[in-house]
Amino acid sequence: MTIVVSAAEEFVPPSAPDFWQPLVGDGAFAITRTMVVMVLVTIGLAVVMMLATRRLGVVPGRGQFRLEGVYGLVRNSVGRDVIGSAHFKPYIPLLLTLFTLILVNNLMGIVPPVQFPTMSRIGFPLALALGVYVVYLVAGVRRRGLVGFLKNLVPGGLPFWVVPVVFVLELVTFLVTRPVTLTLRLFGNMFAGHILLLLFALGGEYLLLSGEGLLKLVAIPAFLMFFLFSAFEILIAFLQAYVFILLASVYIAEVYADEH
């Protein structure tokens, strides 16, 4: 590839190692930037939640009203509509926690002083997905017992020689595919989105500083795209938080569905 730039130093595109940013120490026990963001978000969320729910009234104040909007979305349009009105109540705290935590952590990818999405390191979405995994497996086994749970994996009315194949497929779906996809979806979206922002910012900077003549002007569309995709990331942050709890409640709902 011939580049017209008189490259004093070559352009290095952003890649996966850019997301490993240890602040204190190194190796397995380092305190990374991701961990600091996560702790800050958790403390911030806890403080906001406690302040907004301190004086609950029948006529809500401003903070309570906004919080009730979020709560209503999680409780009614996800919990009640997907899990079903008979069984959704015990799962509301889990869903609300997951939603708010993922949403604020994802938004941290855009908010200026932080600008690092926690979920772009795979350990964090993995922990959340494992939580959901344990919940829907335990709920399934508690509802039907281990034997009933395994029996329920195969829908009735199949020819006898198909049953083992379907059983294995469903078991793999339950035990492997679901937690892996739940993790990778959140991770992949935040990682890909942030690397795209990095590419526009670094590419624009490189063109502006090392480009020759008119090539400097190409930095303008690069920076414009950066702003455009920052706005797009807000949409993605919300969508991924919504989708995570939507899928979690779909998995939980399957426990209570009597047939496939």
Binding site: E10, F11, A16, S77, L184, R185, G188
Partner: protein
């Protein structure tokens, strides 16, 4: 600057989910156009389908970075 075959492979593999997501939202739009009152139900189903389809592209990008390393 060096290219990498894994990233080109990811570009090719993203065509499939792209077409799939397009079909899902085309069906959603025409469904809402025919019966606007079913919007709420269709929205959840459409987003669910979108997410399951997008999953393939996300697998692709994870594997592209694994193989390009």
């Amino acid at each position: 600057m060096e290219g990498n075959l894994a990233i080109i492979g990811y570009g090719l593999s993203a065509i499939g989910p792209g077409v799939g997501i397009g079909l899902i939202f085309a069906a959603y739009v025409s469904g809402v156009a025919r019966q606007p009152e079913t919007r709420g139900v269709l929205q959840t189903i459409a987003i669910l389908g979108f997410v399951l389809c997008e999953q393939l592209a996300i697998f692709g990008i994870a594997l592209a970075f694994v193989f390009s390393g």
